[in-house]
Amino acid sequence: MNLKKVIKALNGELLTKDVNIDIDVTCAFGSDLISDILHCTKEPTLLLTGLTNPQVIRLADMIDLFGIVFVRGKRPTDEIIKMAAKRDLPLILTKFTLYKTSGILYNSGLASCKI
């Protein structure tokens, strides 16, 4: 699923304006627990989360992330958006809950990452 389509489906706001979003996203994972995210993502993944602290961006240094979708309208600070831009990591904001976000993307054909 193209990331542009993801943004549209989630009625999302792209927070990182200058980062390339013409990319194909092959799977997604949703969690608010850092250890779970590290444990479960073995392939490039789109992360859905309500966490907005700097360590969420740092995760992208450890594992391969296509981008991060912040759910429940949780807006990260400008500092965090800058951290992501430096890493070419797309950040998207949606008002939907983690459950609704997951449901919409799953129904659109975006697979769960293999755990």
Binding site: I34, K42, N53
Partner: protein, 165 residues
């Protein structure tokens, strides 16, 4: 107080890993970093730099991911649970050996801390998405050697080894 110790060797790597731990040869080079108590802004930097150094050596992506996860979880542990400490990554042509030393206050029972779900994290740590009690199990899962020494009221020492093949 009794010192508590934990050893783990991945079965498939045990002979070469034991030989390495017995000899501890001089590394090709090392990288060292300090970790600040509760410094959740900078923590993780050391882990990403160690990963990058190994990437430059041409280490395979699957291994890079294992190193990054194990080292990051351990770095977070020092940040979240200790009075700060340091990391030394010893880089070899066939493996990486990473040593963490903190300034206390130590662990009551290492075996209990190894159990998935056990955590002493407070609300602040949990709010940041940590404290699920999966840190040490995640380190063990990704390491070929894991050795921890600790004692309540004293320092914690953790070392891990990951081979590139």
């Amino acid at each position: 107080m009794i010192m508590s110790e934990f050893w783990y060797y991945r079965e498939s790597k045990e002979p070469e890993a034991k030989k390495f731990m017995e000899n501890k040869p001089e590394p090709d080079y090392d990288l060292s970093y300090s970790i600040g108590e509760r410094d959740f802004v900078n923590t993780g930097k050391a882990s990403s730099e160690i990963k990058l150094a190994l990437k430059r050596l041409g280490v395979d992506n699957t291994i890079l991911r294992r190193v990054a996860i194990a080292v990051y979880e351990a770095e977070i542990n020092v940040t979240a649970h200790s009075r700060g400490g340091n990391i030394i990554a010893n880089i070899y042509d066939n493996c990486v050996h990473v040593v963490f030393k903190d300034n206390g206050p130590g662990m009551k029972d290492i075996n209990q801390s190894m159990e998935p779900g056990f955590s002493t994290a407070d609300e602040m740590i949990r709010e940041m998405g940590f404290g699920a009690g999966l840190g040490l199990p995640n380190i063990k899962k990704n390491a070929d050697v894991l050795h921890i020494e600790s004692q309540e009221g004293a320092n914690t020492f953790l070392e891990l080894v990951i081979f590139y093949e």
